[in-house]
């Protein structure tokens, strides 16, 4: 912390980090009040890509809103699909066949790996290392090919339906997925050698951007940000949904509370997702992929419903208020990075600009999901 910061009368200047800036990965804007290179105050300004999804939800039918869910967090779109269908299925009381649940889990976890890979590349890019980005994209490309074969989309998936999934997998899916897992397992040591064990990276991440457990609680931080602060909280374990209880996987938790801990959580999560996919493919039951009597028109009894899923960035919650009609009366989308970013201002205070950008990268921001 700069000595000068304590003197309130010291001259500061403001710089605009964004809305067009290489490190904000989109249209986030942060107004930084700087004292030299020390940040005196950081105030995120949101809304540059705000599309009012919640209003769209009110004016569309239940199913019509489904593609919107993929357009919030475009990196982990399937988890957003999942959160929405879970809520609506809970509201309308729709049962899901077991095969569909397994397919949901497999595709969501594949998508999670893709999301973490992209974050990994982009994060190292924020720190000035360009090459890992393209290695990560190379791997991610395989996932996108696999997901394309089953969902028909590469980024904005709209694969889930109320009561199941849209499409069954073909015969190539399982071998391709297992081959990809083998490939990624063989490449993870390379990533760790090239990036994780790099002394420059360690110096830039260790003890940078401390987020204490208590602060995470006050701000409602979730996901890898929270698990990097030593809290063992993962919706997949703590509030089991779908068929997650049937799989044996660990929740990586690091207690250092710094950017390195958040980095390590995500790196370890990729391995856990691979474990889940392997088990799910081995146990994949035969059967239908969508419930036979899937209702064409969803009727949810009037009332409040809530469901949350563990997306790559944290808890994605959907709160639905139904009035019994064929569209939601009120649709609240609780996006994880919105809460995670809200603590940026408090943590960044007194940090140096390069460190603050390391912190911002470690929060794993996806701006369309913050702005919704």
């Amino acid at each position: 912390m700069s000595v000068l910061l304590q003197d309130q009368n010291y001259e500061t200047f403001e710089i605009n980090l964004g809305p067009q800036h290489p490190a904000t990965h989109g249209v986030l804007r942060v107004i930084l009040t700087m004292d030299g290179e020390y940040i005196y105050k950081a105030e995120p300004v949101l809304g540059y890509i705000h599309r009012m999804h919640e209003k769209m939800g009110e004016s569309k039918t239940w199913l019509q809103f489904m593609p919107n869910t993929a357009r919030m967090d475009y990196l982990h779109a399937l988890a957003y699909n999942h959160g929405y269908v879970l809520t609506v299925e809970r509201a309308a009381g729709i049962e899901v066949p077991e095969r569909a649940e397994y397919l949901r889990v497999i595709t969501v976890e594949l998508n999670r790996i893709a999301s973490h890979l992209l974050w990994f590349g982009a994060f190292v890019l924020d720190l000035g290392g360009f090459t890992p980005l393209l290695y990560a994209f190379d791997d991610r490309e395989h996932i996108l090919d696999i997901l394309e074969s089953v969902t028909g989309a590469r980024l904005t998936f709209s694969y889930f339906r109320f009561g199941g999934v849209y499409n069954d997998i073909d015969d190539d899916f399982a071998p391709a997925t297992l081959a990809f897992i083998k490939r990624l397992r063989s490449r993870m040591p390379m990533y760790h050698d090239l990036v994780t064990k790099n002394i420059i990276l360690m110096k830039r991440l260790k003890e940078i951007g401390p987020i204490s457990k208590e602060m995470a609680r006050r701000y409602g931080a979730t996901g890898p940000v929270l698990r990097g602060s030593g809290v063992n909280y993962d919706i997949r374990k703590n509030e089991p949904y779908s068929v997650y209880p049937e799989f044996d996987f660990d929740v990586p938790v690091y207690t250092e509370c710094d950017s390195m801990a958040r980095y390590m959580v995500r790196m370890d999560e990729m391995e856990q997702s691979m474990r889940i996919i392997e088990q799910a493919l081995a146990k994949l039951p035969e059967g239908e992929t969508i419930v036979k009597k899937a209702p064409k028109i969803i009727k949810a009894p009037a009332g409040d419903y809530y469901a949350a899923v563990e997306a790559a960035r944290g808890t994605f919650g959907v709160r639905v208020v139904s009035d019994g009609t064929n569209s939601p009366y009120r649709l609240k989308l609780r996006s994880p990075t919105y809460s995670n970013l809200s603590l940026f201002g408090e943590v960044a205070k007194g940090m140096l600009l390069p460190d603050a950008l390391a912190l911002m990268g470690s929060l794993d921001l996806v701006i369309p999901e913050i702005d919704r």
Partner: protein
């Protein structure tokens, strides 16, 4: 365990309504409706029990009861609230502010709700207890025009800085 503690502590506040809900059907365990001036105390109760704030949001109840009474098969155009005649017999329309809380150690989701009159929407802020509520309340103010008294900085967050409209109000016309 935690749920019992919360129930006990909440009962001391004498909430307007408190009901344990079926988690499997609803997605939360406890539904508490408090008076608007009590939200701060309710938040403090949950803070004591180490709950974390998931979200704050609002619901405009202007057309809710009416729509809920109607048969469910009406078309979409009708569902849109524009230019519908106000039901005269109803009492003054209300808005609801909803707070979602969850707990890290035990599966326990608590919903706090408070109803406020629609024409003078004011409710105390809880951002002093839960710092994260700052942004959620700003967002709710953007969308519903609900004024959170005591909020440090209630300027638009997601909407443009000169926005004077509140898009999630049911009588909002773009």
């Amino acid at each position: 365990m935690i749920l019992d503690n919360v129930k006990k502590a909440m009962a001391a506040l004498e909430p307007i309504n408190m009901a344990e809900t079926d988690y499997a059907a609803k997605g939360f365990h406890l539904d508490v409706q408090v008076a608007p001036e009590q939200v701060m105390q309710a938040a403090e109760v949950l803070n004591e029990e180490l709950f974390t704030l998931e979200a704050v949001t609002g619901v405009d109840l202007l057309t809710f009861a009416k729509a809920a009474k109607k048969p469910a098969k009406k078309t979409e155009e009708e569902a849109e609230p524009q230019e519908e005649t106000e039901p005269e017999e109803k009492s003054a329309p209300q808005m609801e502010v909803v707070y979602d809380f969850s707990h890290w150690d035990e599966l326990c989701r608590v919903v706090i709700r408070a109803r406020i009159p629609r024409d003078t929407p004011e409710i105390p802020t809880i951002s002093e207890v839960y710092s994260g509520a700052n942004w959620h309340e700003r967002e709710t103010h953007d969308f519903f025009g609900i004024k959170f008294t005591g909020h440090p900085d209630l300027k638009p967050l997601l909407l443009p800085e000169d926005a004077d409209f509140h898009p999630l109000l049911k009588d909002f016309v773009a």
